[in-house]
């Protein structure tokens, strides 16, 4: 049964809010307080606007709005269905939290070019919301590229050699894969199917039955690698390289705007362009799951070796993103549900972890885990939140990550893939191995001799409150997962 399609302009409003916010920030850049007021007000309005769409979508309706027609069946059009809402809700709520956090961080460190920073931050969210509400592959590609371009100034923010190098790597990886794989895939899909629209359910896909199978498999592989923001190895190098950015950016990049755009696009295309039926018929699912398993394990092992906290978090992200793709690639209902809900769960947990890393840097100017021994005693809230968010990453109850992991495990059993089950369990152990020592050492290890923690106290409240909120949400959606699971269940039907 196809859902009702309701034409509405509220989607355009939601999309324009961050754009208008960015323009406002640029115009009022000279007035620090006004500028930040614009950022925070637009983030709140966006959250409310997206929130107002929830009841309609939960009723099973699809909100739709066509903006431009480029060619026949190539349009810039927006849609809000259950899957878009998953990402839109995460992006808008995390933007709100991140705006408040970055005010504290940027002022705390007295960073330069804060206007540009705030404007690009809003533009990145503009792109992310656009991706979430894309009704077709072209619109998605458009906003995907907007995110790439608008986050470059954030990565290169420090404008030193390291910043430029990281920024270049970032842009090279993301645009090269998009141009080399995504562009031909998109055009070829258009030639084969006559449209770039997404299907209305996850099973049918868009390909006619008589299409050349080799070509479809090639297009699938192109799409998988084309969205390099999903961090699948071997195209993941941009992500650790982007760590030179200020921490709120890393938080935004690695929890929401960039990497989630990548996995959201990948899974959207897997489910709504190719469709579960085509993927099963061509046997694309399980090989994908095994392929990304390598990323899950390898990235976790690399994370173990990193002493720099942000680098460890970056590799953890690489690994966790592949969970999402793995879940969807299992093509079983619990698997898809587990994968998609992990977009939410990983988002809230990872942003907490990065916020904590930033708070530690602002309060104690420490980047390396080995230097944080005993620091938990002077910064209990920060490290407490870090510990709870780590549990979510590991997948321990009652934090949100457990819900994902449970579904993924059930999904792998239903797909009769013991190998995948083993990968998930092994990766859980690895997660525990690289996350738990951070909290343990902070609280229970003795500070190194000569280290004076006397002057160090918790980071300013504007940073601490977002940490606590993000962490609390992680716990709440762990204990009451039903609200978000509604959307995920609506996706799988």
């Amino acid at each position: 049964m196809d859902p009702n399609i309701l034409p509405t302009s509220s989607l355009v409003i939601a999309l324009l809010i961050p754009l208008v916010g960015a323009i406002g920030v640029m115009l009022k850049g000279a007035h620090e307080n006004l500028r930040e007021a614009i950022s925070s007000v637009s983030s709140l309005i966006l959250l409310v606007t997206v929130g107002l769409m929830v009841p309609q979508v939960l009723k099973g309706n699809v909100l739709y709005c066509k903006l431009f027609e480029i060619l026949p069946n190539v349009t810039i059009a927006l849609r809000a269905d259950a899957m878009s809402m998953i990402f839109a809700l995460v992006a808008s709520s995390l933007w709100t939290i991140a705006v408040f956090y970055s005010m504290g961080y940027m002022r705390g460190l007295n960073e330069h070019a804060q206007t540009r920073f705030n404007a690009c931050f809003a533009l990145a969210i503009f792109g992310a919301i656009g991706v979430a509400f894309s009704d077709n592959l072209f619109t998605m590609y458009l906003f995907y590229e907007i995110v790439s371009v608008c986050t470059y100034p954030l990565v290169a923010h420090h404008q030193d050699k390291e910043g430029y190098d990281g920024g270049r790597k970032y842009l090279v990886y993301l645009t090269a894969t998009a141009k080399l794989f995504l562009l031909p895939a998109m055009i070829c899909i258009y030639v084969l199917t006559g449209t770039l629209d997404f299907s209305l359910n996850i099973s049918d896909g868009m390909f006619p039955a008589d299409v050349n199978k080799t070509l479809v498999i090639m297009l699938y592989v192109f799409c998988l690698f084309g969205f390099a923001k999903n961090g699948i190895m071997p195209f993941h190098h941009w992500l650790p390289g982007a760590m030179v950015a200020p921490t709120p950016v890393s938080a935004l990049l690695h929890a929401v705007a960039v990497v989630k755009v990548g996995v959201f696009c990948t899974t959207r295309v897997m489910l709504y362009t190719f469709g579960v039926d085509t993927m099963s018929a061509l046997n694309l699912g399980i090989p994908t799951a095994y392929f990304v398993s390598f990323t899950i394990l390898a990235a976790s092992i690399i994370a173990l070796s990193k002493d720099n906290l942000k680098a460890r978090l970056a590799y953890s992200t690489v690994s966790q993103l592949s969970y999402i793709i793995l879940g969807v690639a299992l093509l079983t209902i619990p698997g898809i549900q587990g994968g998609l809900i992990h977009i939410v769960n990983h988002g809230f947990a990872k942003i907490t972890l990065f916020f904590c890393a930033g708070a530690i840097y602002v309060a104690a100017h420490k980047k390396n885990i080995s230097e944080m021994e005993g620091l938990g005693k002077v910064m209990p809230v920060t490290f407490g939140a870090f510990g709870i968010a780590s549990l979510s990453m590991i997948g321990a109850p009652p934090v949100a990550g457990f819900v994902s992991k449970w579904n993924l495990l059930v999904g792998s059993i239903q797909a009769h893939q013991l190998g995948i089950l083993f990968v998930l369990l092994a990766s859980t152990l690895l997660n525990a191995a690289y996350f738990l020592p951070v909290t343990y050492r902070a609280f229970f290890a003795k500070p190194p001799a000569g280290a004076a923690y006397n002057g160090i106290k918790e980071a300013p409240l504007s940073m601490l409150i977002p940490i606590v909120i993000a962490c609390t949400i992680s716990v709440i959606i762990g204990i009451w997962p039903n609200f978000m699971m509604h959307f995920v269940k609506a996706v799988t039907g």
Binding site: E69, I70, L142, Q159, K161, R168, T175, K179, L183, Y190
Partner: protein, 513 residues
């Protein structure tokens, strides 16, 4: 002859052709450089506005030549002054007319020496350029085609940079060499067609294949040099680099289009069987141009050279689109001709604006000007992104159509789409060199030269750039109205081609492609 033409009650095309010439004549008698500037701006603006009449009055249903006019010129040889436009030429005529006032504005403070002579050259240039696109008599076409060389030669040779003589002579010789064989082909066709130079009369005949191939080669040399296709491109970077801003804009936006226009107007309809025979050759040459242009542009430190080589790549996409001989390809190619005119023209204007400030075209000298020229770099960002085919901008639509046509070309023939995939690295390279240039200009590196004295662009310069941005976004977001104008003519062209393809197939002459 008349069955091909739809006459108009007002000689609008002649007005467009001769108004600039009238302006040039008036300026001969005006001594004040200031007045000359206003006169030329005024006349080109009138031409630009009048050209919009063509869009309004254009009938998108018919495939005949519209707004036609006819007058006897040399009756003994049956050479006539016949002009008219169809879907293939209308956008090029209008683009030419619209770009000229901005060329005048861009030269407002750039040209300091012999301003009057410069403006007269531009006016003569405009007459010749519009004439080339509307001429329907082959001799008229040829005369105007050659006539363009003289003012362009002067523009580069007098107002150019340090190596202006080298560049202008090279430009002149290359283009002239190409067009000599064209004249031979024209005379052969004249003789074959019962002594008529009327272009539509020459189309869709079944000339012998051997002769067709020879005529195609003559056409190809003339037009491939003009496009320029790899490996006939070497005159272009020299000419672009040395030419003043207005000259570069005219070269890139309009002159290059004459080559691809020539393919569409002459090569395809007059020698269709040869076109089918030689198309694989032209297609792979286009791919070579796309890749070669991209790599060479990536290595440039001179901004004008960078954009010049990017033109080689972009025009490779256009010839690719033309020679896959399907609807999406050809329509995409025509649209891409306009797109390239808009974006590359705008980019040359941007480089000119930097040059007026730093007196250097070196990328390293412009590194980091973004900090002091925020309005300028906002424009530049849009134009660079448009040039690399960013979705939502004009070039994306053209590139998308051409590549879709290329995929279709292979898939319909049941082949793996090697040809389309071979062109994709070109899109990647475009992103690479454009983003590199953009990054250098906006951000630079850790050792930027001191540019704190640089002033952002003024109102005149904003007025110059804004219309280009308008077209970048309009074509990018809603190309429908533009495609409607060209649709009927392209469909007709392809129908005729398909008939010839069947004919060639029945003769069993098809190469593997």
């Amino acid at each position: 002859m008349d069955q091909h033409l739809v006459f108009s009650s007002f000689p609008i095309l002649s007005t467009l052709i001769f108004l600039p010439l009238v302006a040039a004549l008036i300026m001969l008698f005006v001594n004040s450089e200031r007045y000359c500037k206003y006169i030329s701006l005024c006349f080109t603006s009138v031409v630009a506005v009048l050209s919009l009449v063509l869009i309004v009055g254009f009938d998108t249903e018919t495939t005949k030549f519209q707004f036609a006019e006819k007058a006897v010129w040399i009756s003994s040889l049956d050479i006539n002054y016949v002009v008219g436009i169809d879907g293939i030429s209308i956008l090029l005529v209008v683009m030419t007319a619209l770009i000229m006032p901005f060329c005048i504005l861009a030269s407002w403070s750039y040209i300091k020496l012999r301003v009057k002579a410069f403006l007269i050259c531009l006016m003569v240039m405009e007459t010749a350029m519009i004439g080339v696109f509307v001429a329907l008599d082959f001799i008229l076409f040829y005369v105007l085609w050659e006539a363009m060389l003289i003012p362009m030669y002067l523009i580069i040779g007098i107002w150019g940079g340090p190596r202006k003589i080298y560049a202008s002579v090279k430009f002149f010789l290359y283009t002239l060499a190409g067009s000599i064989l064209l004249l031979v082909a024209i005379i052969w066709l004249y003789w074959q067609n019962e002594y008529s130079f009327f272009i539509p009369d020459m189309m869709w005949h079944h000339y012998a294949l051997g002769s067709q191939i020879l005529v195609f080669i003559a056409f190809f040399l003339a037009f491939a040099i003009k496009v320029p296709m790899f490996p006939f491109h070497t005159w272009l970077p020299a000419a672009h680099v040395e030419a003043p801003t207005a000259g570069s804009v005219i070269l890139a936006s309009i002159l290059l289009k004459m080559g691809t226009y020539g393919f569409l107007r002459f090569a395809l309809p007059i020698v269709p069987d040869a076109t089918y025979q030689l198309m694989p050759f032209v297609l792979w040459l286009s791919i070579a141009g796309i890749i070669y242009g991209g790599f060479t542009a990536l290595a440039q430190n001179d901004m004008k050279k960078l954009i010049a080589y990017s033109s080689v790549g972009h025009m490779g996409f256009v010839t690719l689109g033309i020679f896959i001989l399907n609807k999406q390809g050809i329509e995409g190619a025509i649209l891409q001709m306009i797109n390239h005119g808009v974006t590359t023209g705008a980019l040359f204007l941007c480089v000119g604006m930097i040059y007026e400030r730093t007196h250097s075209r070196e990328l390293s000298m412009a590194a980091g000007v973004g900090k002091y020229m925020p309005i300028f770099v906002t424009f530049l960002t849009f134009f660079s992104l448009a040039s690399l085919g960013f979705p939502g901008t004009n070039s994306f639509v053209g590139e998308f159509m051409i590549l879709a046509g290329t995929f279709q070309f292979d898939i319909e023939a049941g082949r793996f789409p090697w040809l389309a995939l071979a062109a994709i690295p070109g899109a990647l390279l475009a992103a690479a060199y454009m983003l590199r240039m953009l990054q250098r200009i906006i951000w630079g590196g850790v050792d930027n030269p001191d540019q704190s004295w640089i002033k952002d662009i003024n109102a005149r310069e904003i007025v110059i750039l804004a219309p280009f941005l308008f077209f970048v976004l309009w074509i990018g977001l809603s190309p429908g109205p533009f495609l409607d104008l060209i649709d009927a003519s392209v469909t007709d062209l392809l129908q005729n081609l398909t008939m010839h393809r069947t004919h060639s197939l029945s003769l069993n002459l098809m190469a593997p492609y």
